[in-house]
């Protein structure tokens, strides 16, 4: 088992699956589901290897850095791969119901599977990349695949959303690429480990850092660079919204985190405070906007803006507990937000609209769906027992320990804002409405995947010690003295 090249397989399998779906469109659902299962199994295999032998460095084709392409898997990569695999499997199952029978014709379903599997390939490759240029390539691939998926819904809304997304995505990667060029020019390498040893503060490095951070923040949609996110995430088909919110924005955050920790460890405290402040602004702005929305999918999209803000609170806190808290927030948000967008998708599918004020007629006939939404909401607002609670606890603990209690205040108020909109929606399950209008039944797979993802977000609250232990492999956040 130990000498199987899992990192390569994890990247090649979804690629092969995507090609197969492209070649045999009639079998694409079956092929897609099989690929999804296969990727989950392979990530598990890689996980076993990493847990057994520690962080893995793997030179593709036997060529090491700086010539060849290196892959690197530590606890952080593994966790990102795992969350992608689990959410990816959920989204695949959901899509098999959604695209098969919805108003999406056979045509759209045919396009969905290959693109989605390419996107998965890009994600896996991104989380395994050991150099900043490969990160650029995978980021670009990810962006293009995501744009194609957004356009899949068809119609003017989706196309203009996709166009906007494309521009933002290209601009973000361009900034990032400029930074890569500067670093390569100065230090003659793109390998993260080599750069970590060579990079020293200099004007070129500051410029590179600035460019890369801005590019990545744009892609991660941190306030005030979030302007593109709500409309894009809201206009896409439900499974696509789910994977955009749960995975795609997290990929650029992951790159930022890697760079921050390894290439730019000297970044000064003022910059960290700035990121924290922007994060706090995102929490409040996203929360308020979510509360004001009249459409369910817009509401969920704005809540993503808020939740992404939490991730940046870890920068000023800068301790291992803080980073793990942010990572845990990322995990539980991925599961919870997937469930929420799936629930919204079910509601749209069933009632044909997602106007919040008229939800009662729909949600009372979809008890599983509204349960999924409510459970996901519990995690989002950080009530126990849920993944969101663990994350909130860790961040709050760090904030108080490091005597920066105001970040704790942001967490608390942000939680209250989320509670306000979650209960605003869930409250509609308890009105007394007669339901006169005929609706389309939602396939059971769609209701159950939504519920299972939400249950996962809750269960994350009970299995934290194991996942946190996983995160320590290869100590991506440094040793305890760094805190």
């Amino acid at each position: 088992m130990s000498d199987i090249h899992w990192p390569v397989i994890v990247i090649l399998l979804p690629l092969a699956g995507g090609v197969a779906c492209f070649l045999w469109p009639r079998r694409s659902v079956l092929l897609g589901l099989l690929t999804a299962l296969g990727v989950v199994a392979c990530v598990a295999g890689l996980g076993g290897q990493v847990v057994e032998q520690g962080a893995q460095r793997y030179a593709v084709g036997g060529w090491g850095a700086p010539l060849g392409i290196d892959l690197y898997a530590d606890g952080l990569s593994l966790l990102m791969l795992t969350v992608t695999a689990v959410v990816g499997l959920g989204i695949s199952v959901y899509s098999s119901g959604y695209f098969e029978r919805a108003r999406y014709g056979q045509d759209r379903a045919r396009h969905f599977w290959p693109v989605w599997l390419f996107l998965w390939t890009a994600l896996n490759a991104l989380f395994l990349s050991a150099d900043i240029f490969n990160l650029y390539v995978t980021l670009e691939l990810l962006g293009l695949a995501a744009v194609a998926l957004v356009a899949l819904a068809g119609g003017a809304d989706a196309v203009s959303g996709a166009m906007r997304y494309l521009l933002v995505s290209l601009l973000g990667s361009l900034f990032y690429l400029l930074g890569v060029a500067l670093l390569y020019h100065s230090f003659g390498s793109v390998d993260i480990a080599i750069l970590a040893q060579r990079v020293e503060p200099s004007p070129a490095v500051w410029a590179a850092m600035g460019l890369m951070i801005v590019g990545l923040l744009l892609k991660t949609a941190l306030f005030p660079l979030h302007f593109w996110l709500p409309s894009v995430h809201a206009s896409a088909p439900a499974p696509v919204s789910a994977l955009l919110s749960a995975l795609v924005v997290k990929a650029s955050f992951y790159i930022l985190l890697r760079l921050w920790l390894e290439v730019f460890p000297f970044a000064n405290a003022a910059l960290a405070q700035l990121l924290g402040l922007l994060g706090a602004a995102a929490v409040f702005w996203g929360g308020f906007q979510a509360l004001r929305q009249t459409r369910l999918k817009m509401l969920i999209a704005y809540s993503t803006v808020a939740q992404l803000g939490y991730l940046f609170l870890a920068f000023p806190l800068a301790s291992i507990t803080g980073w793990t808290g942010a990572l845990y927030m990322l995990l539980s948000h991925a599961a919870a937000k997937t469930a929420m967008f799936m629930a919204a998708g079910n509601i749209l599918y069933f009632g044909g609209h997602d106007r919040i004020a008229d939800l009662d007629r729909v949600v009372q006939r979809l008890p599983l769906t509204i349960t999924a939404f409510a459970l996901a909401g519990i995690s989002i607002m950080g009530l126990p027992p849920s993944g969101g609670f663990i994350a909130k606890w860790l961040l709050l603990e760090t904030a108080i320990r490091s005597a920066q209690w105001w970040w704790g205040g942001v967490l608390i108020l942000g939680g209250l804002l989320s509670a306000a909109w979650v209960f605003k929606v869930v409250g509609y399950a308890f009105t007394r409405s007669e339901v006169p209008h005929e609706a389309r039944a939602v396939p059971a797979t769609m209701e159950w995947t939504a519920l299972l993802m939400a249950v996962l977000a809750i269960l994350l609250g009970l299995f934290a010690p194991w996942l946190l232990a996983l995160l320590e492999i290869g100590s991506p956040f440094g040793r305890e003295n760094a805190g």
Binding site: F389, I390, L416
Partner: protein, 498 residues
């Protein structure tokens, strides 16, 4: 199988699993649902019985599951938690019978009983919690499980009440979370320990400890309905009668009061709290709540609202007993935890019977109702006399110890509070009794349903009779061996032993 570690989990599972199954039952499967409910309730009672037997024979029941590095989910049966567990499992069984009768034929019953079971699971979790974070977990779960019960009827009024409830309790939960995390950063442990685990802390932290105390008590005070945090409780009485009964007697309000006992006894420790100077302000808040609640109750014509304000007042007795910081008063507070539950649940059952059978919701409609529903009103009368503290009923035992305990530690002013409250109790309860027994009944009741020769359905009548009987028994047998007083004394000994 390690029996000591699994029993607390089984006690939780006995209501959690039936609850989860019930959610998925189709509406018309009445028999299955009722069987599941009752089986769960009886099983829980049996398991709790086994647990008590074990605790008396020196066994330790403790379940630890890792929650975070260095922080466990801890369930533990100690003498204080058993007090609350026994109360809630007995009253749950009674309330389940009542609820089955009460909701017969109404919509959404699977949803109702599902959340009902979750609610009890959360309450028992609160009781068994062995550290503050576990307590917090179940405390929040209780908030979430109760909300659907309060808004169950789905009317605008119910939804408004539900919203108020959420605003109060979610905000309260947040304060509790903040206090808990802060405390954890200071101590590194949150496990409940008799006489507290904070007294060893450096003096420099004492200011922080006082703020944390305020945060924790404010968070718990919301559910315990201490003024000025009581606003949600009178509104929440729009819920169906069995929910009100559970809310006021066992679940929500009691969880808050129980939490205050835990914080004062097993986190801070009474002596240490007193040395921090936080017990006297707490006693004053409790005293103010007692008087304020009674005053407001006087002016309510809606029967359930009157009972709700009476709860505000009565639950504060428990807090008062703890905050007086003397062993005898503490016994009074602890036994009142049980007594108030048994008496108040009786009153709400009776109010529900009046509403269901005759359509009576207001005190002014109760003239002569004693003749139409004698058994219900007998139960009501017993509970009312208990509430006022008439010997030999349960409430008398509580008040006696509270008063005696206050004199013991030189806090004579409490006597006046108790006397004033008893007078007010009489003022808002006795007119009801007078009207019910001595005024002539009207020609017709607002909305009468006929149950043949019986005054109302069996499932509605039996529960209040049982709890009224308990009120009497708890008073008469208070000093019996293994009685409640002995138990409460045992708990306070742990706290006050030199």
């Amino acid at each position: 199988m390690n029996w000591g570690a699994t029993l607390p989990l089984l006690v939780l599972a006995s209501s959690l699993l039936p609850g989860l199954v019930i959610f998925f039952l189709p509406e018309e499967r009445v028999a299955t649902r009722t069987t599941l409910n009752l089986a769960g309730a009886v099983l829980k009672l049996v398991l709790v019985g086994v647990m008590i037997w074990g605790v008396f024979h020196g066994s330790h029941y403790e379940t630890r599951l890792p929650l975070l590095p260095g922080l466990d989910l801890l369930l533990r049966a100690d003498s204080l938690s058993m007090l609350f567990v026994v109360l809630s499992s007995i009253l749950w069984l009674v309330t389940t019978v009542y609820a089955v009768g009460y909701l017969e034929g109404s919509p959404n019953r699977s949803r109702f009983f599902g959340f009902f079971s979750l609610c009890v699971t959360a309450t028992v979790g609160v009781a068994l919690a062995g550290n503050l974070v576990t307590f917090l977990l179940f405390y929040e779960l209780l908030t979430l499980a109760t909300y659907p019960l309060i808004v169950h009827r789905g009317t605008d009024e119910a939804r408004r009440a539900g919203r108020t409830y959420l605003i109060y309790t979610v905000a309260g939960g947040t304060l509790l979370l903040l206090g808990t995390v802060w405390l954890y950063t200071l101590t590194g442990t949150l496990d409940f320990t008799a006489r507290g685990f904070l007294s060893g802390l450096d003096e420099a932290h004492h200011a922080a400890l006082i703020i944390i105390f305020v945060l924790l008590i404010a968070g718990l005070g919301v559910k315990a309905a201490l003024i000025p945090l009581h606003g949600w409780l009178p509104q929440a009485m729009v819920a169906p009668a069995p929910v009100s009964a559970l809310l006021h007697a066992v679940a929500v309000v009691k969880a808050g009061a129980f939490g205050i006992v835990r914080v004062v006894y097993d986190v801070y420790g009474v002596q240490f709290s007193a040395s921090l100077g936080v017990t006297l302000p707490l006693a004053i808040v409790a005293a103010a709540t007692i008087i304020y609640g009674s005053m407001r109750a006087l002016f309510q014509d809606d029967l359930k609202r009157r009972l709700a304000f009476s709860t505000v007042s009565q639950v504060a007795y428990i807090v008062l007993g703890i905050a007086i910081a003397g062993p005898v008063a503490a016994v009074g507070g602890l036994v009142h935890l049980v007594h108030q539950g048994v008496m108040k649940i009786t009153l709400f059952f009776c109010a529900g019977n009046l509403a269901e059978t005759l359509g009576i919701h207001k005190v002014s409609e109760m003239n002569g109702v004693g003749r139409r529903m004698p058994w219900t009103m007998v139960a009501f009368t017993v509970a009312v006399f208990g509430m006022m503290g008439a010997p030999p009923l349960a409430g008398f035992i509580s008040k006696w110890h509270l008063g005696l305990g206050a004199l013991d530690v030189g806090q004579g002013w409490v006597i006046f509070i108790l006397a004033g409250s008893s007078l007010l109790n009489a003022a808002y309860f006795l007119p009801i009794l007078y009207a019910a027994w001595f005024k002539p009944p009207p020609d017709s009741w607002p909305a009468e349903r006929s149950f043949g020769r019986r005054e109302t359905a069996w499932a509605l009548l039996a529960p209040p009779l049982v709890t009224a009987f308990l009120t009497l028994a708890l008073g008469l047998l208070a000093s019996a061996p293994f009685g409640l007083l002995q138990w409460a004394r045992f708990i306070t000994q742990l706290e006050y032993a030199p």
